[in-house]
Symmetry: C2
Subunit: 484 residues, 2 copies
């Protein structure tokens, strides 16, 4: 645990980065197609509340804003500078930054260390030296930088912005950071802050991690990392934060082919996947493989928080075909290390009385085919399963297309309202699986409805099970940590 | 290899099942909500070309068709009977089937062996005895039965029907068979025949497999199996067919929890997962885990057929963020055992001349970020990659939402047309990955466009890689088999 003073110092240091009162964009121009212009228009479209100062020696105007010839001529203080000018001009720009007293400089401009060319590696070093001397921090170079929805800073040169949430995300890939935001818009995953730090020449992943550790708006941390400049410090930071904020890490470049691609990408020197996995585990992080597993796990943490255990009750066969679904669901859960414990004898007897025996599987996973469109029976069966004291959460497996093909749409809606009702009662966390099929429009509508209620939705049982396993393992570890 | 005579005998035997000239539905009535009535209306809606005879002792009419009081009163021959009457009446119905000279009887009716009750297990045995004596075959009981799009027989009591294709599918779960059809409608997977055989009291999975082996309309075979009554015969049948038709098997009940669910479902006695895996491998089948992997693999076989090898060329970063994408793609491919070999020096030099160095990863996976919206450059880069002689197929990783957010829609369309152009030239098989994000409607439209052209589309790189690995392993094995 760090002290209050240190916490305040960190928050203060990153304030001009995530909550700047003013942003200058070097490289904006009257031509809206220019990258700098797109940054300015993105900030305007996202509704950035502070001052925006376009900068370009050619002057002119963009979207009603005056373009300043240089940073020195801006009449008011500048907190953050976004750099979109050719790389050969960046060093002199930094001299202006020092004069203007800016607090942080983000380089969208690329072409430095990652080229492997000595000349440009040297320039990157000079950038950092100038920053140290000038009293400001560097984000990048070669990165998309900051996303701060609370401050209405969109992601990159675009208006991409969503609702503010509780997940802080750190990425060594601007593409993955952008994509996780896009996935979040689709699936209801909301971020407090996102940063893609590119080469991380000055502020590196560990600096941002230390900030998110103390940031009161961040409750969950996600990270895409290809390597670490100072692995010891990184794993110390992960260890420090993991007991209080879950940290989900996707390590890129786990395979030889992936590591080679990573070397070309961020120049990261990648240790072996096994070493990373062991270190992440020891530091209390949750390691995931790939973009979707990362999003799946963050979504579950966001929507449900810690889980009491990994005993899963499963309800399937909402129309028919629940026999095969129950096998699929049990296999998927068991493969991820979840328990699918039997129902108590009393509940089994009550389910048999309710659903009858023929053609249904009255065990966990529960096949409620025999309710065939009787929503009252669905509600009663759910009630019996929810009341099972040894189950920690419920998964509902809903084949939207089969439901809609065989039953009137009102019945599907009524069933979904029943599940939402149980979720609202908060007796037990509920996860819904809506597998892809032939009616994507309807399926996405139902996903949106569940999402807005705070119910996490997954496209396959396997992905739901993996996310549940990650969260329950973290919850278990965290419980033991708290006991210590 | 079986002889011509045996082949003809098998085809002849299953003709009344998959190509019946007439179908009687026992249990149809004037009430359209009755299950039997839904079967009749489903057949009519799907455009079944043969005669339909509703049967019910109460008589009456359904959808303009006369309801016969029993099978004996139907004036013309009946090939197939679909049974939707309560289980206590089925034995006397079978006596009528014998008198009427029907060829096959499908029992939608359930409640026999799967109940575990001695009385009903005995009735199932009697059903088979009556069939043997009466000279007809049994499908089921407790199953959805037959789907035969060529003959316009829909799946189950519904109008669910798609275009006829080349995949034959056998399932011990009616739910999974229905779901794979729904997935097929969404993703362009087309079936020659599908059968869910329930308890398989007479015709079992292996009988249908032997039929699909000789069926000239079936080129690829898929199966969902929970167990086998005669495992030796099943694996012999798989071994016999696998050199000429790829057979993709999903074994349900691989885990203890899944096996328990399977026991309740089909009463299948499940051998251990390891034993099944070893036997499937030895028989030359492709084993998959789960519904999505099954669909993914069938799709690749259908669209691309055998692959020359597992050397993959990857193109990503269509807008930006290709650095992270290239790491993701390489990791996913390598994890599935695919090769991502380097480009030749000549091609690397040409790519550098075309795309420039800064910010792009000019290796395999190829990050074409630097083309930023220049479709001509995209086309030229694709041409260079396609021409690499050591690559067996190409994967294009396209983030639809990022493309559409940063570039005009016409550019995305032009890029997609370029990929389609390469596919049409058939120089090299092309697979497209369209990861889920924030613009699902647009993404599905693009998926449909690729699909209709015969390009297989996947929602994640991991799933594409797994399917490619399965198909290339099969192709490799098949090649060595042909050599023997």
């Amino acid at each position: 645990m760090i002290g209050l003073k240190e916490t305040e110092k960190r928050l203060k240091e990153f304030e001009p980065i995530f909550y700047p009162r003013s942003i200058a964009v070097a490289g904006a121009s009257a031509d809206p197609r220019k990258m700098g212009s797109q940054w300015v228009n993105g900030l305007l479209a996202a509704g950035f509340s502070g001052e925006i100062y376009p900068v370009n020696p050619l002057g002119g105007e963009i979207s009603g804003l005056k373009i300043y010839p240089n940073l020195r001529t801006i009449p008011k203080p500048v907190d953050l500078v976004i750099v979109c000018i050719p790389r050969q001009f960046v060093l002199s720009l930094l001299d202006d930054c020092a004069v203007a007293g800016v607090k942080a400089v983000h380089f969208f401009t690329a072409g430095f260390r990652e080229t492997g060319e000595p000349e440009w590696i040297r320039v990157e070093e000079e950038i950092v030296e100038k920053a140290h001397k000038g009293g400001f921090r560097i984000i990048g170079p070669n990165c998309i930088g900051i996303y701060s929805p609370e401050q209405r800073i969109p992601y990159g040169p675009s208006p991409l912005s969503g609702a503010a949430g509780t997940i802080g995300f750190i990425s060594q890939s601007g593409g993955h950071a952008g994509k996780i935001l896009e996935i979040g818009l689709g699936r209801g995953i909301h971020f407090s802050k996102v940063v893609s730090m590119g080469n991380g020449s000055d502020l590196d992943s560990v600096d941002f991690l230390e900030y998110l550790t103390v940031d009161p708006r961040t409750a969950i941390i996600g990270a895409y990392l290809e390597g670490a400049r100072d692995a010891r410090r990184l794993f110390q930071a992960i260890k420090a934060v993991s007991p209080t904020k879950p940290i989900v890490v996707w390590k890129g470049g786990r395979t030889e082919a992936g590591a080679e691609a990573a070397t070309s990408h961020t120049g990261a020197l990648t240790a072996s996947a096994a070493v990373w996995s062991a270190a992440l585990k020891q530091a209390g992080a949750i390691e995931v493989q790939g973009l979707e597993e990362l999003a799946d796990t963050l979504l579950l943490f966001q929507q449900l928080g810690p889980l009491k255990g990994n005993n899963v009750g499963i309800v399937c066969g909402l129309t028919d075909g629940g026999g095969g679904e129950s096998v699929l669901a049990a296999d998927a859960c068991a493969t991820s290390g979840l328990n699918v414990p039997p129902f108590t004898e009393k509940t089994k007897a009550q389910l048999t009385a309710l659903l009858g025996q023929v053609g249904s599987v009255l065990r966990n996973p529960l096949d409620i085919s025999q309710s065939y469109g009787n929503t009252q029976v669905v509600g009663q069966a759910m009630e019996l399963v929810v009341r099972e004291p040894h189950l920690d959460l419920l998964v509902v497996y809903e084949n939207v297309d089969i439901l809609l093909r065989f039953l009137p749409a009102e019945i599907t809606e009524a069933m979904n309202n029943i599940f939402i009702g149980f979720h609202r009662r908060q007796d037990k966390p509920i996860v819904v699986v809506l597998p892809r099929g032939s009616m994507e429009r309807e399926r996405l509508e139902i996903e949106g409805k569940f999402s807005r209620e705070g119910i996490p939705v997954y496209p396959t049982m396997e992905r739901a099970a993996r996310a549940i396993a990650h969260v329950s393992r973290y919850s278990h570890l965290h419980k033991s940590l708290s006991v210590c």
